[in-house]
Symmetry: C2
Subunit: 344 residues, 2 copies
C-alpha cells in the first residue's frame, strides 16, 4: 500500500491503559471519536501478551472506525506508574505486574506514527482542559481521590511534568505533621486521611461500631467491597457519621489545595474520580470552603473549584490531544512528523 | 537623531526597584554590564518624584555606559508588591507608599523600547537560573527567607506566574496546623516560623532570658536591630540556643520544600537572601536533610539544594534577561520588537 502523504494524515489515537481495562479510541482531526475498542487488561498473562493486546485493541478500534494505519498522525497513551516520559518507557506498572516496558517504541514500530506516553491522571486533567470542565483554564490543578489521591496540572497549555517522572503528587502534601502513616512510608500525607481508601476505612469502623447502619446493611465492613456509590448511598440513607467523615476528608483536601494555590495561583481546581462523581456537590462545596479559608485574602478570589465532567473519557481524549500538542510542537520529535512554526 | 535600525539595537536595561534602594544596570547583548547607577528610593517623596527618579537613574546608567537611548532593546524591572504583569502596573508597593503605578507605560514612553515588570524574587531566581547557581536547571524553586519568605520558580526556561499576580508564595505553605499567627492572617505558615523576623524574635527572647549572651552583647533585644550577620555571629560566638533556633527554622523550610518537590519535582532548590548568605552551609545542609526526610523515597534523588551566588546582582540581571526572554519570544508584544521564529 502506498503511504499517505503527511498532509493527508488526519487521525489521532488515544489509549487508556488501566489496571483492569484498556481502551483505544480513534479520533478525527476535530477529536470526534470514529471508533473505539475496550478490553480487559489481563496483566497476569504477562507483559508480552499484554503488549500484543494493546496493539490488537488499537487495530480493532481502527477497523471499527474504518481508518487505515497510514492515516494515523500520532498516538497518545495514558499510563499508570512511574514513567520515563522522554524515552516513553513504563518503569513499573504495579497493577499489571509489568516493568521496563518500551511502549513508545513498540507502538511506533507497529503503527509507523509517533507515540507519546504520559501519566494517566495528567491525561485526564488535560482532557478536561481541552474538552471538559476546565476548558481553556490558564492553570488548572486536578485532584482525584481514589485508592490514592492522584494529581495533575495543566499550566498555560502544557502538562506540568517532572524530568523523567510525573509530579503534582498532591496526595503526598503533608496535612498533619506526624499524622497517620501513608502507603508511601511518610506520615500525615493527604492521601492517608482523604483518599477513598481512608474514607472507606473510617466508614467501615463506624459501621462495625454500629454507627453507620445503612452502610453496614449495604456492604458490611469488608473494606475491599466499599465502592464510592456505597459511601454516597450511606450518606443519602442517613448515616450522619459517614457524612462527617467525608466532610473531614474534603476539608483536608481543601488544606492541601490552599497550599497549591499559594504556589501556583491556578484559576481552577478540578475535582474528579469516582468518589467526586458520586457526590460532586458535597465535595466541591466543602473543598472550596476549606481552601478559601486557608489561603491568604489576596488569593481568595483567584481560583474556583469545579467537578470534572468527562468521566472515563477524559484520560483517552487527553492522551490523544496531548499527543497532538507534543508532536505538532516538535517537543517530541519523530520521523515524518510535521513541525509547527510559531511565526507571527 | 536618526533612529538606530532594529538589528543594531544591542543593549538591555535591568532595574531593581527596592524599598530603600533602586539600581539600574545597562548590559550589552552578552549581559556584560556596561554601566550602572544606584540611588536611594525615597518613597516618601511621593510617586511622581519617584518615577522621575527611576527614569533619571536609568539615564545616568546609560551615560556611564556611553550608550544612547536608541540602542536599548528592552527594559526589565524587578518590583515588590502585587503586580499586574500583563499591563505592567504595580498595584501596590507598601514599602514605597505607592499605588497603581503604570511603570511599563512610563518607561516605554521615556525610552521608546519595550518594558516588562516582574516580581523581584522571580527576577532573582531567573538571574540565578541564567547566570548563577541554578544555571540551566530544568526546574528551580527559590526560597529566600527575609522579613517574610519570598519564593519564585523557573520551569523549563520560564518564570512561573499567576494570572495577574505572582505565585510561589512558599512562605504561606502551611507547616503547623493551627500554628503561630502569620502576618497574612493565617496560622502556621512557614513564614511565621522560619523567616528572618521569626528567627530574630525567637533569638531575642533567648537573649532576654540570658541564654544567648553573645547576641545580647551584640545587639541587645531590639528586634529591628538584629541583622542576619548578628545571628551568624551569635552562633559563631557559641550561643547554642540560637543555633537550635536556626536549625529548627531550616527544618521547617525543608518540610515546605518537600511539599514543593512532591508538586513540581524541581531538580534544584535554591536558597538565598541575607540569612542564607550569612550561613550558607548551615542552611543548605539542614534544609536538604529535612526535605529528603520528608519526601517519598522515589523523590529523594530527584533534587538538590544549593545556595544562591549572585547576591544583589541576581535581581537586576534576572530582570534584564527575563525582559529579553519575554520580548524576543513575542509573549509581550511591543512595537518594533523582533520576534524569534521557533523553526526547526
Amino acid at each position: 500500500m502506498a503511504d499517505i502523504p503527511e498532509n493527508e494524515k488526519d487521525c489521532w489515537i488515544g489509549f487508556d491503559l488501566g489496571g483492569t481495562k484498556m481502551l483505544a479510541v480513534v479520533y478525527d482531526a476535530d477529536f470526534k471519536p470514529l471508533g473505539k475498542k475496550r478490553k480487559r487488561s489481563r496483566g497476569h498473562e504477562g507483559q508480552e501478551a499484554g503488549l500484543e493486546r494493546i496493539c490488537s485493541t488499537i487495530h480493532q478500534a481502527l477497523q471499527e472506525a474504518e481508518v487505515s494505519v497510514d492515516r494515523i498522525c500520532g498516538i497518545g497513551v495514558g499510563c499508570p506508574g512511574p514513567l520515563d516520559l522522554g524515552k516513553g518507557v513504563i518503569h513499573e506498572a504495579p497493577n499489571l505486574g509489568w516493568a521496563n516496558v518500551p511502549l513508545k517504541q513498540i507502538l511506533e514500530n507497529e503503527f509507523h506514527a509517533p507515540a507519546i506516553i504520559a501519566n494517566d491522571v495528567d491525561c485526564g486533567v488535560f482532557g478536561e482542559y481541552r474538552f471538559g470542565a476546565a476548558k481553556s483554564a490558564r492553570c488548572v490543578v486536578g485532584v482525584f481521590p481514589g485508592t490514592g489521591i492522584g494529581g495533575g496540572a495543566v499550566y498555560e497549555g502544557h502538562i506540568v511534568r517532572g524530568k523523567n517522572t510525573t509530579c503534582m503528587e498532591i496526595g503526598h502534601i503533608n496535612v498533619i505533621p506526624n499524622g497517620p502513616i501513608c502507603g508511601c512510608g511518610l506520615r500525615g500525607c493527604l492521601e492517608a486521611v482523604a483518599s477513598r481508601l481512608a474514607i472507606s476505612a473510617a466508614a467501615a469502623q463506624a459501621a462495625y461500631r454500629g454507627q453507620a447502619p445503612h452502610l453496614h446493611s449495604l456492604v458490611g465492613t469488608e473494606l475491599s467491597k466499599i465502592r464510592s456509590g456505597d459511601i454516597a448511598a450511606s450518606i443519602d440513607g442517613g448515616d450522619e457519621v459517614v457524612l462527617k467523615i467525608v466532610r473531614e476528608a474534603a476539608r483536608y483536601i481543601g488544606v492541601a489545595v490552599a497550599n497549591v494555590v499559594h504556589l501556583l495561583a491556578p484559576d481552577l481546581i478540578l475535582l474528579g474520580g469516582g468518589l467526586v462523581e458520586a457526590m460532586p456537590k458535597l465535595f466541591v462545596d466543602q473543598v472550596k470552603e476549606s481552601a478559601k479559608k486557608n489561603v491568604m485574602p489576596s488569593y481568595q478570589k483567584v481560583f474556583d473549584v469545579v467537578a470534572a465532567k468527562l468521566g472515563n473519557d477524559a484520560t483517552v481524549m487527553g492522551a490523544a490531544s496531548w499527543a497532538r500538542e507534543c508532536i505538532e510542537e516538535g517537543g517530541l520529535v519523530s520521523a515524518g512528523t510535521k513541525v509547527k512554526v510559531n511565526a507571527e
